[in-house]
Symmetry: C2
């Protein structure tokens, strides 16, 4: 594909790149949702020099070398699929901490390809961009997964029905669904969180899990908050991973006691999420979760956010 | 609960008890659908003699003793939950062969409790009746499962999110969805079909399976026939069970080549189902499946049916 740049006007774009919650209890490796109030910003501008340059990173100690940066790698994958006369400069303003479990690398990977796509006049759909952004995830974790980049790009809930070939279904969020996410300030590497997994599961647990995935998807389409709550269980991964997260059981129990529909590990942790109906309950849960970590003298960050049905947003122009 | 029979008028009811397809490839032990053109008939009438009597069985060699008959056992379970001055006589006209894999025992179990419930003035919802009918399934297979009795009673597609506590979600079928079901005339006992299962599965296959369950549910809600088709895969149970079914691979391949959205084992087999969009394709698949078994000199029965969104139907009065 060749594009004539003389017909495009935009030379620079500033975007908001949202944090995301992957897995969502029963939906290990297939489900994710997009947040509205937590995320990074990126500025991407056209350059006469071909190729991709990361020109600035604020808020995180991440490599500026294009080939070592998830945004750079994703952008390069995209430029392999389309011919341009231009190059692109990328500035990254990180708010999402690396290793937090709310899609830090995904926000940068998805943001880079989203921004470049806008500057190119949208040659690719948001779904098509997922494939490029997955290359950033591959750099970050060794695994080109879409659990976080899909909700970051598409918004709402996303189901990755299949990774190969990639088949992503976007599901709109019920309008009153809120997430509370607490991030205890310890770093848990995706690779460590992966190493505790067992490679086999009992058929019985697997059946329970796919029953719950079905229930969660049905609950989202029918906006049945109770069904969403009843489906938010994970007897396969959570028991293995939760031991790596300080205070997990107490935080989860506290969330449920304060009205959460469900609670579990965000991505591969250490962040813990709770879903609830309405902002009031989500705020109440945030307060109660904070009290638990305050009591433990464990530093944390906490976010309360509506599910973001749009995904990455243009801040300017 | 006590009911006054003098206020009810109906003394006898004739019902159609549909065949059902459980599992539906990815949805092992959780999904099922209800058929419209294949099923039994039952006549249930009030009697001055308390208790349940099976007074007639036509079309099958099944026990008349109440405690040994799935309809009898289901009805007894129901009468334990409600006090009545009357008893009930049950006549069963079987068309669905035992051991066919399209819910023969479920049709009788569900029919018995449905019919009695109607004669009692509907003290129970259809969902509540599922619990009683599951007792018939327990007698038939040793396992009180709801995969067939749920769709027989509720119609459409049903998801058994959880068996304990029972949590069933009914999903309306997309209007053009048809099933073709071929029953090779060999008997395959549920217990034999269960014995080939492995008690553990790989995490990778389990993830694939719950991704497909999610995709199938999403496809049903969005009436996306292609997504339904892409989701109809089973890499866990089908490879183990299909070897028990003569000609399975060829029948499935034939169905797909003739336009089926997907194809797999119905229940625990030996019946093989295919889903398709529109009756024309379903008929074409039936013809092609028939040719395969004709060529193999294997006797078979074949059904083409729209998905029955209503479940058990009253024939008269």
């Amino acid at each position: 594909m060749t594009l004539d740049f003389k017909t495009t006007i935009m030379n620079e774009i500033k975007i908001f790149c949202p944090a995301t919650i992957a897995n969502l209890s029963c939906g290990f490796d297939v489900l994710g949702l997009c947040l509205e109030t937590a995320g990074d910003e990126m500025i991407i501008r056209k350059s006469d020099i071909k190729g991709i340059r990361i020109t600035k990173i604020v808020g995180a100690n991440l490599p500026l070398e294009t080939e070592k940066n998830v945004a750079g790698v994703s952008a390069l994958a995209m430029l392999e699929a389309i011919e341009t006369e231009f190059g692109f400069e990328i500035e990254i303003y990180k708010n999402i901490k690396a290793g937090s479990g709310i899609g830090s690398s995904a926000a940068s990977s998805a943001g880079a390809v989203f921004g470049i796509n806008e500057l190119l006049g949208r040659p690719f759909t948001r779904k098509e961009l997922v494939l490029f952004a997955m290359q950033g995830e591959k750099l970050a974790s060794g695994n080109a997964h879409a659990d976080n980049v899909a909700p970051a790009l598409l918004g709402g809930f996303t189901l990755v029905r299949s990774s190969n070939p990639l088949d992503i279904i976007k599901i709109e969020s019920p309008s009153e669904l809120y997430a509370t996410v607490v991030h205890p300030q310890i770093e848990l590497k995706t690779s460590d969180a992966r190493s505790v997994l067992k490679q086999t599961v009992s058929l019985k647990s697997a059946i329970t899990q796919w029953g719950n995935v079905g229930g969660l998807i049905a609950g989202l389409y029918t906006k049945d908050y109770d069904l969403i709550g009843r489906s938010l269980h994970d007897e396969i991964v959570e028991p293995l991973r939760s031991v790596l997260i300080p205070g997990f059981d107490l935080i989860k129990q506290t969330a449920l006691e304060n009205g959460a529909l469900g609670s579990g590990i965000s991505g591969s942790g250490p962040s813990i999420f709770a879903l609830s109906k309405g902002k009031e309950t989500a705020d109440k849960i945030a307060k109660a979760m904070s009290a638990v970590y305050d009591e433990m003298n464990l530093p944390y960050e906490i976010h309360v956010s509506k599910v973001n049905d749009e995904g990455i947003k243009i801040v300017s122009p």
